[in-house]
Symmetry: C2
DNA sequence: CCGAACTGCTTGCATCTGCAAGCTTAACTG
DNA sequence: CAGTTAAGCTTGCAGATGCAAGCAGTTCGG
């Protein structure tokens, strides 16, 4: 008799790997950015002023500050984000979404949505996808970086 | 108006990151192996003869052959798996689950199950967890490495 | 029987990531 | 006000991973 929670988490991690592997290659070829880079842009897009301090961004992406530093550098060269410091607190270095970044993330989301739809192609009723979305929503609810 | 498939996949990837981050540290401290190493052992455990060729193992773990080679090496030194070649086909190098490996994966699964249960602590009805498990089951169904 | 194509595995290289240490700046304490 | 502590960011180092190349062994076609 297998534990239900165990089975859920196993399947969750496994399906996540599966989907990412299926999506990642084509996605980055089309848009020149990785899925994680899109996530970064989406976090900025969602922020009130389209900008966030690096530490805050790290929390929302479930990653470390050093990773954010290293992700932002090449994206800055591409002009997708820019750097901005705070007048009050000279320690803060905001990552700011540029217009080019906003355009890019919009295009990327479209591609991503198509790939997501393909994951559920046939065999899935709209109602079931909605159900899955709501259940997963409870797992991410209340976390700092809740997209969607 | 957000697309439901998009939302589902976003939440799926995000919750996967979240859960892995929450679980990984304690897990590897307790058992001396990573979650991915446990997955490798579980694949062997599930195989008919508790052994698999490296390429097959790679497919089931959704990873590359080189990763399997590099994961197996240290685990062999720990005595959790051993290497065995095929009499008929000298190219094949099976990864074989040892008794020590079987013991370890059993212990690890127990810890993992506790951590999985903790993910759903309060706010989740057993029925909901089951529902989530079944929906995710449809995503992994038919894939070569379906655990659970 | 022999060469060509293929399969399974390993290894060099590049990339991504986290941790710990270090730097700069801010806040707190006596 | 000075010294200490803390916060934000970056960087050196180590570990994990994928791709492409290379090697060994098998299979297929003539």
């Amino acid at each position: 008799m297998t534990d239900t929670s165990l089975q859920s988490v196993l399947r969750l991690l496994q399906s996540s790997q599966l989907i990412e592997a299926r999506i990642a290659g084509e996605f980055s070829c089309v848009h020149g950015i990785s899925v994680n880079e899109m996530f970064l842009l989406m976090q900025l897009e969602q922020a009130p002023l389209q900008k966030l301090p690096r530490v805050e961004l790290a929390k929302r992406l479930n990653t470390s500050a050093s990773t954010v530093t290293r992700m932002a550098a090449p994206m800055e060269k591409l002009g997708l984000v820019s750097r901005q410091s705070d007048e009050r607190d000279a320690r803060l270095a905001f990552v700011v979404l540029t217009e080019a970044g906003a355009t890019r993330v919009s295009e990327a989301r479209t591609t991503f949505a198509k790939q997501a739809a393909y994951v559920f192609r046939d065999r899935w009723e709209p109602e079931e996808i909605k159900q899955l979305s709501e259940l997963l929503g409870r797992l991410v609810a209340g976390t700092p970086g809740d997209l969607s």
